[in-house]
Structure formats: C-alpha cells, structure tokens
C-alpha cells in the first residue's frame, strides 16, 4: 500500500514538468473529447459493448446531457435535427451489433443530406474481432459507403487524436456523418490524455481554393444575362451564407428558387423568392428553368427530383455552379463555369464584379405563372370549400399562428410536400426534412433534437400517419425529457404518396397502401402528452391555436381527405417544363 501511494505522489509532483497529459481510461477520454468539442448534449442507447462509456457519462452527467431515445435510429435523427437547427455537430451513441446497425438509416440520411454528425459505437474487445462474438458486427464495413469517414479504435491511446479528427471531418467542408467504433478493451485501457483540436488532415481538402478567374467568368456571364435564374440549395445554410446570398440576389435582381433543403435560407416572402423547384415544386420556377438563359446553381447538387429528365433540363441555358464539393461539378448537369469554394466566400467575392440590374420583365413572367398555379392549385389547397380537410389548409392555419417563425420538421410523403410548399419561413434553419434519402420516421425524433437545439423556438413536426408509426416509440423520449415539441399528424389512412402514384400510374391498384390506424390520441395520452383530434374545418383554427399556446408537448391529429393529391407534379422521366397542374 505504502509503495503505491508513494508512486502516485511522485507522479503528481512530476506532472507540471512533463506535459498536461493525465492518465485516464479510454472511456473517460471519450467524454473529455466530447466536452473539448463543445458537446453538451448527445443521443443514444446503452448496451454491453459501450457500458464503460455510459459509466463515465453517469459521472459527467452535470456537464454532458445524454438523452435516452427509444431506438438507436431515433438517436441519429434526433442528432440530425439538433445539427440542422444549430449548425453544430450532432452526436449519437450506440452499442455494438444491433445497436450499431440501427444507426445506419440515420447515418445514410445524414450522408446524403450533408448533416454534420459523429456516431460513436461500442465494439467487442479487439481480441474477439472477426470471431462472430456476441453482438459483433462489422459496422466499419457496413457504414463505409454511407459515412464521410469512419474509424475503428482498438487502443485507448488513439482516442484523443481520432475523436478530434472525427469532429473536424464531420463539420468541415461539405459536412457529413463520421462513425467511430471503439472496442471494449480500448474503452477500459489507459491513455495519457491531452487534447488538441484537429485543424488539418493532410489527405483532405475541406474547401477548394478560390479561383478568381472563375469568379470573373461567372460574373461576366451573369452580367450579360437577360433571363438569369438562381436555384439555391442547403449549401447556403451550411455555409452560413444567407446574408451574402441575399445581398447578391438583391444587387443582381435575379429570381431565385429553392431546392427542398434550401428552404428557409431566404425568407419565403422575399420579392425575389420564386418558390420551390422540383417534382412537387412551384409551377413558375420549374417551367422557367427551361427558358432562362443563365442558370446559376448555388450550393445544390441537381438531384433527380429537382431536374426531372436531364436530357431536357435547362438545355438552352449556360450553367454556373457554385459548390464546395468538386465531385458535384458535372455529376448530373454539365456546367459552363464551376465556381468552387465555400459560398460564403465565393458570393462575397463575386459581388463587386456583378452589375446592379433590374429584371422586372423577366420577374413578371414568374408572377404570371404563379397566378396560374394560384388559381388552379394553391387556392383550392389553402382555402378549400370541399368537404374533406386538406393538408394545405392545416399548413395555412399553422402559418397564421406562427407567422413563419417556427421550425417546421417534416417527415416523408405527401404531407412533407405540403409542408415544404406552403410553410412560411422568416428565419434560416427552419425547414428540417429528410430530403435525399426520404426516410419515413425521420420527423418525430428529428423534432426532439431540433427543439433541444433551439429551445426558445416553436418546433412543429408535421408527419403522416405512415411515417409516424415508424418511430412512434420516441413519444417515450418526449415523456422522459419533457421536450415541448408540437406534433401534427395529417392522417388520411393511406400511405398517401404511394397511393397517389398508384392512382396516377398504376390504375388505382392500391397495393398495401391502406392503413388501419390505432387511436393516436389515446397513444399520445398514454405517453402523458395532451392530445386532440380534429376532423371538421370549423374546429381546425382553434385546435392549432391551442396547440401553439401550449407550453408543453402537444399532439394534434387532423383527419384529412383520403384521396387528396399533391400538385403540381413532374412525372418521373418528364421534363421540368412538362409539370402537371392536375
């Protein structure tokens, strides 16, 4: 005993002369890394192979709040919601085997939607790797195609450097998910802990070098354009370039349309905001994509849901593409001028080279087509006179109460298109939806993360009756954390979007799209959440008012007409200009 005490004393005395390093367990090192990265909130689910880290979480619970979700998938979506609303890196944690595989959907979602996220998984002890041990799965192999980077830590000594690298890679450049798999022996092992933030990885260029010649070339093209048109994406939000973007469009007077994920980067009612492009986007920007002379893509990636048939997409236009990711250039649409770099920098840089313009006649063309859409589609949706309630009028009701100030988290399907088409946004980072992957079940857990990331904002999840039941267990997370999210389920007792396609393209053969649903109100009440169901138009406004007024979480179910469709619509394989209004 005495000898041991002496040794400890000697080490303590020597401490100042060596480095700041202290000997701690790998698990504690993980926690200290998270704290050093400014993490104060993470989502996860414990299990055998990650127990040492949870044991440390218990000790550090004052500084690092862990939210127990009801499924690991929920942890990833909550981390995504948190990341999307704050711009910070979301963190999710799970055990090995099924815990790790349950993360995969959320990781894939974060990858395709460029969401910064770090996932930490426990792994069986390193001497068991490859032996088909209990709850062993090759999560590195499984997650490789859907992560920006991943790494398996087998020694405690690797933890500080790898964790620093993980956070740097997740948030820098085009953000994305990183998975760190840590064997149980590495969690138990000892490490001389000192933390240095990572600022460079030699094989990785986060932001391409700015090329002033390309900027000038782009500016010349923009200045010579008679009918320039901008499509902006999430890059504007991820690059925190909302201000630069607005200054740029206001100077050049260019009509600007958003992709699904670009929504809220520019306020909905801005005079130059001409709506949403893509399959269920607005009439004017889709049709006029094929009439503009210069198409300026800013922080977007020409997804097939945006472009429709590429053979007939903006063929008449010169294309300028602003992006941070060189691999996006020419991937789908051939670019005439590629402006690589962080849009916050490139948009600021191009500003002095573009001339102040006035495109009033060109803008009028958007207005004319908008009026057609208003008459043929929008009015019927927002102010319907038919019997059944529409998804559009629910959104209109929400807009009226929130004045566009809420964070709208949508799931996937018809209700998502209505939410994205009709929700008003006055602040950036207000539209959170699963765009690229189209993950049903995203919204409920994502809204939990969003509300925790922006506790002072109203967060409203808009979900269909199908997607809701994919992650409905996260009501338990709401019960336990008392997070005040507002949940609106638009219930048409169908998997509505698939049903719409069956109606339009499969002769109304409603294969497995009819839903017999439970009593959602009772379920919510079972979780201690105040709940209401509305099925009549005259009750809708008050119900929305009550929901918004509530200081706690609230569940509102709205019974929607059963066979409503989302229009306009660009059928698969059609051109953007062949968008259908009915």
């Amino acid at each position: 005993m005495n000898t041991q005490t002496q040794t400890v004393q000697v080490t303590t005395e020597e401490k100042p002369t060596t480095s700041k390093a202290e000997k701690i367990s790998g698990s504690e090192a993980v926690i200290k890394c998270l704290l050093a990265e400014g993490v104060d909130l993470l989502y996860g689910y414990p299990g055998g192979a990650i127990m040492p880290i949870y044991d440390e979480l218990y000790k550090y619970q004052e500084k690092l709040h862990h939210v127990l979700t009801r499924h690991e998938q929920g942890a990833t979506h909550a981390a995504q919601g948190y990341a999307r609303v704050t711009g910070k890196v979301g963190v999710a944690m799970a055990t090995s085997g099924p815990g790790a595989t349950n993360l995969v959907t959320g990781i894939a979602d974060a990858q395709i939607d460029s969401t910064p996220m770090v996932c930490i998984t426990g792994q069986v002890a390193s001497h068991l790797l490859g032996s088909d041990a209990f709850q062993e799965t090759d999560i590195i192999g499984i997650s490789t195609p859907v992560t920006k980077w991943n790494y398996q830590i087998t020694k405690a000594s690797e933890i500080p450097e790898i964790m620093a690298k993980a956070f740097y890679i997740a948030r820098s450049g085009r953000p994305g998910p990183v998975l760190i798999d840590i064997t149980k022996d590495a969690q138990f092992g000892e490490v001389d802990f000192s933390y240095k933030k990572c600022e460079k990885v030699r094989s990785y260029k986060a932001i391409p070098e700015l090329d002033i010649d390309k900027i000038k070339e782009a500016a010349d093209l923009i200045n010579s354009a008679k009918k320039p048109f901008i499509v902006f994406g999430q890059g504007v939000i991820l690059g925190e370039a909302e201000k630069e973007f607005k200054t740029f469009i206001e100077k050049t007077d260019i009509p600007s349309a958003s992709t699904l994920l670009g929504l809220s980067a520019l306020e909905t009612k801005h005079r130059l905001n001409v709506g949403l492009v893509g399959m269920h986007g607005n009439y004017a920007p889709n049709v006029l994509t094929n009439e503009c002379d210069v198409l300026i893509a800013i922080g977007m990636r020409f997804d097939d849901r945006v472009t429709g048939n590429l053979e007939t997409y903006a063929k008449q236009a010169k294309v300028i593409h602003f992006d941070i990711d060189p691999a996006e250039i020419d991937k789908n649409v051939k670019t005439d001028v590629a402006v690589l770099g962080d849009v916050k920098e490139t948009l600021a840089e191009i500003l002095p080279f573009v001339t102040k313009e006035n495109h009033v006649t060109w803008l009028l063309e958007f207005q004319k087509l908008y009026d057609i859409e208003l008459e043929k589609v929008i009015n019927d949706q927002l102010n319907p006179t038919k019997e059944g309630l529409t998804m559009g009028e629910v959104l209109a009701g929400i807009n009226k109460e929130t004045k566009g100030d809420a964070v709208i988290v949508s799931d996937v399907g018809q209700h998502q298109m209505f939410a994205c088409r009709y929700a008003d946004f006055i602040n950036t980072r207000s539209n959170i939806t699963s765009g690229g992957l189209g993950t049903m079940g995203f919204a409920l857990p994502a809204s939990i993360g969003a509300k925790m990331g922006a506790p002072n904002r109203e967060v409203i999840a808009i979900i269909g009756d199908g997607g809701y039941q994919m992650t409905i267990q996260e009501l338990g997370t709401i019960l336990q954390t008392e997070v005040a999210v507002k949940i609106v389920v638009l219930n048409n007792s169908f998997l509505g979007m698939v049903r719409q396609w069956q109606e339009l393209f499969f002769d109304r053969r409603y294969a497995s799209t009819v839903m017999k649903n439970p009593n959602f109100v009772k379920i919510a009440e079972g979780y201690g959440i105040e709940a209401t169901r509305v099925s009549k138009r005259e009750d809708l406004t008050d119900a929305i008012k009550t929901m918004i007024a509530s200081e706690n979480s609230y569940f509102l179910e709205v019974i929607i007409e059963q066979e409503g469709n989302v229009f306009p619509m660009i059928p698969t394989g059609a051109s953007v200009s062949d968008i259908r209004l009915s």
Binding site: P145, N150, I169, S203, D325, P326, I329, D330
Partner: protein
C-alpha cells in the same frame, strides 16, 4: 453513345485499414466491374498506390475519379487511357517438366520472352512480364501443354505525362 474503353485509375492514399473497402464501394455503387487491381507502397513513405483497371466511358470515369478523390484518406486520384501509360503485368505458368524441351518453350526461353523461375522433377515455372496481350499470347501457346497452374497479376503503370502528384507528395512529406 459514348464509347467505353480501358482506363487505368491510380489512387494515392494514406496507408490505413479499410481504404480498399471505401474505394471499391465507389465502383460497386455504380455497378462497375474491376478488371484488375494492384496495391503497393508508392514512392512516398506511408502513401499507398492503388491501380485499378476498368472499362467505361470517359464521362463516367471522370465522375468516379471525382468521387474517389473525395474520400478523406485519398490524396489524389487520376485516370489514364492506354496511350498515356507504360504498364506491365506479370504471369506465372506452371507446366509439367516433360514439356521442358518442347520447341515452343525452348524458343520462348531462347529469345528471352520468358524466364524460368524454378525447375523440379515434376514441373517448371515460367515467368513472363509484358503487356496484357503478351501474356494472353503465351497463355494460348502453353495451354495445349496442360497448364498445371496459371496466375497473372494486376497492372502496374507509370504515366508518360508528368504526374502532378509528385511535388504534392514531397510537400506532404
């Protein structure tokens, strides 16, 4: 329709576990078959070089190389057509010793088109390095003798134009 052709893709990477998986996943997700592949240390310490041979259009190979280069641990990736590279492949042929003095085999040895690696009582092993066609030709010649074993390598290639990678790698070192 744009024509498909053989491309040699050179990928310089960090020497870390799992990179092969990450690179092959890019080919996999576009449903591309890899004709051959070689991995080895490069001229720079701790930098590895993958050489893939694939058949595809130029439009596609450019996209694939962009996506390869985007991987965190990839330093640079290049693609080259057959004209732009000098390359070699190697093959070993194991043949029964009874054929050692056959004219065809003696001719190959005489004109140094192949080397004998080893001779035992039962078999001998011929080695040949050259273009893919050289190996194919010898294979066709030796096949009638009954090949006991035949193995060929992936491709190793050096470019005719200067590789932009050299200075970059030197700097990184």
């Amino acid at each position: 329709m744009e024509e498909k052709q053989l491309y040699t893709v050179s990928v310089y990477t960090e020497n870390n576990i799992g990179i092969l998986n990450r690179l092959s996943a890019i080919f996999l997700k576009r449903h591309i078959n890899i004709e051959s592949m070689t991995v080895s240390k490069s001229e720079i310490d701790n930098v590895h070089r993958f050489t893939f041979v694939v058949v595809m259009t130029e439009t596609l190979i450019r996209k694939v190389v962009g996506q390869l280069e985007k991987q965190i641990e990839v330093i640079r990736a290049f693609y080259h057509t057959e004209d732009e590279i000098i390359y070699q492949e190697t093959a070993l042929f194991k043949v029964s010793t009874e054929h050692l003095y056959d004219e065809e085999i003696q001719n190959k040895l005489k004109f140094r088109r192949a080397n004998i690696v080893t001779i035992t009582e039962r078999f001998f092993v011929l080695e040949v390095s050259g273009l893919k066609e050289d190996i194919d030709r010898l294979y066709d010649k030796l096949k009638p003798y009954g090949l006991l074993q035949f193995v060929r390598s992936g491709r190793i290639a050096i470019t005719r134009p200067k590789m932009a990678i050299s200075e970059l790698l030197q700097e990184m070192n």
